[in-house]
């Protein structure tokens, strides 16, 4: 398709405008973090802080246990992603390749599990964890996030394995691989983009949780996750916008960086097959 010069210009202008509009909130977060308190409480709002107050980051890190929050969020996310990926790779593969009795109802069940509201699940989980004295421990979150993640990852991986031709592992087995060997040596490497996309998705699900963290960990300050820390700041310091914005930047940074590196897997990985 060849466009005229004007059409291209129009396309570029539209795309630039749309991106600018949609990403404006992210810019505004940075702008808020780097502004002085005076600038934040004056009108018209300053669109470009002068000078930029980078020292706010040092101040926030010093005054708040941000790295501890990030560490806790990471432990929980990595733990729940590993646990979920392990069970759902096997389950997704089984659902994709074997006609297990009840596999249809399994599919329906997984879809149903995706619908479970966290606000419903948090009640019995609280009762259960309280009875075994686990409230306040990071394990509660690892398990609770797994309930969020497993239904999604199993379904995503099943769909992904479905796009991979069976001939691939049949060839491997003909060449002497065991079925698990074929899964490990042939299917998983071919599915790398799909696995990456799924794991990224799972990581974001865990990182984003607020309901479980708030319920299980509010009284255990040392185990606060990043989101819990941020909301605690929002509660107390409604006017210190630069501090809470700076903390938000630090908390959002890891997940945004991961996203920037893995996005092509996320978009491509959902549909790309085994042709490579």
């Amino acid at each position: 398709m060849n466009r005229t010069r004007n059409q291209s210009l129009l396309l570029y202008a539209t795309i630039a405008a749309v991106c600018a509009f949609l990403l404006f909130p992210v810019y505004w977060l940075f702008n808020t973090a780097l502004s002085s308190s005076a600038e934040l409480q004056g009108l018209p709002p300053s669109f470009w802080p002068e000078p930029m107050h980078w020292e706010i980051f040092a101040k926030v890190v010093e005054e708040r246990a941000i790295f501890q929050w990030l560490g806790n969020s990471t432990i929980v996310a990595v733990g729940s992603v590993l646990l979920s990926m392990f069970v759902s790779v096997l389950a997704g593969y089984s659902l994709s390749r074997y006609q297990v009795r009840g596999s249809n109802s399994m599919g329906v069940f997984i879809l149903t599990a995706k619908m479970l509201p966290a606000t419903l699940m948090v009640i019995p989980l609280f009762a259960i964890f309280r009875s075994v004295g686990m409230i306040g421990s990071l394990w509660t979150l690892i398990l609770a996030h797994t309930t969020l993640i497993v239904p999604f990852t199993t379904w995503m991986l099943k769909g992904y394995f479905d796009t991979i031709p069976r001939e691939l592992e049949q060839a491997a087995m003909v060449d002497g691989c065991s079925p698990l060997g074929a899964l490990w040596r042939v299917i998983l490497p071919v599915s790398a983009p799909g696995l990456a996309a799924t794991a990224l998705y799972a990581f974001v699900l865990s990182w984003a949780d607020y309901a479980y963290a708030r319920t299980f960990l509010t009284n255990a300050q040392n185990n606060w996750t990043a989101n819990l820390g941020i909301t605690s700041m929002k509660g107390e310091y409604i006017t210190d916008w630069n501090e809470i914005a700076a903390a938000s930047v630090i908390v959002a940074a890891p997940i945004i960086i991961i996203y920037l590196f893995l996005e092509r897997h996320l978009v491509g990985g959902l549909t790309a097959g085994a042709e490579k």
């Binding site: 396309l11 539209t14 795309i15 991106c19 949609l22 990403l23 909130p25 992210v26 505004w28 977060l29 709002p45 389950a91 074997y98 297990v100 009795r101 596999s103 069940f109 619908m115 479970l116 509201p117 606000t119 419903l120 699940m121 009640i123 019995p124 609280f126 009762a127 259960i128 609770a144 497993v150 199993t154 069976r166 592992e169 087995m173 003909v174 060449d175 002497g176 079925p179 974001v204 984003a208 949780d209 607020y210 309901a211 989101n227 941020i230 909301t231 929002k234 916008w241 809470i244 914005a245 938000s248 908390v251 997940i255 945004i256 996203y259 920037l260 996005e263 092509r264 491509g268 549909t271």
Partner: protein
Amino acid sequence: MAIPRSQSGTTWFGLARPSRRHWLGYILLAPAVILVAVIIIYPLVVSVDLSFQKVGIARLDVARKPFTLANYEKLFLSPEFWKSCWITLKLVVTVTLLSMIVGLATALLVNNQFRGRTMARLFVALPWAVPEVIAVVIFSRFLDSSFGLINWLFITLGVTDELWGWFSDPTLAFWSIVMTMVWKGYPFISIMVLAGLQSIPVDFYNAAKVDGAGVWQRFRYITVPVLMPVLGVVTILVMLWVFRDFAIIKVLTDGGPIKSTQTLAILTYDQAFGFFNFGYASAVGVITLLICFIASYLMLGRQTKSMY
């Protein structure tokens, strides 16, 4: 290709032989089934059980309270519950509609061939990676009644001449949630639609062009049919997300002012952990789940048909 040596191995594991395929399939499924039974089904049973008891802060190591339907009676007679249903419905419809529009438009826009397309795709879907709680921080700053950007903009543009209290007026509070949710929700739609668009082989378009199909016809007869199933699934997922969302509403408005943004999810949570009525809260939660259930299957039923 040496076949005879390894064929005895494959027969056992069924993949190559459709007739014998059982036990490995079950073994692979077992860890997931066990995990799901322990951390999803068992808690679910507990919550249904709780919903039939008059119980405050529940523990499992004490005797259960007697069976009662009081929670459900209270629920259906409570105007608060019906109001929450209505608010939830309004929110689901508004947010889903708006984020579908934004998501579809951005996906179609970025799917054009142009230099820097990879970059543009990356940025268009970026809010997907911003945690909900942080989106709330951003939008509460935007909507701050005295120094927020939005109020300043509206006054400067002459939309209004007074400062709007975004979190003290029920209607405005509703729209503040809509804005935040649309910004958080549209990227998922873009991502999924882009993936759908990518799955269309260029050959289709070329073949159609050779046969003399114009731009509109190619869109109508190739793009739209391929996207329909994707859109169906995406709509359901977005609706479910709005229906059940907790973080955005809890942190942005806390269900207020005067409970005007109290969705079913917020009602459930506040009953459990604000008023410590675990029994009643479970009843609200169970009803919420049933609504999710019925609505999704009604839509999914239509969906699966349209896919074939």
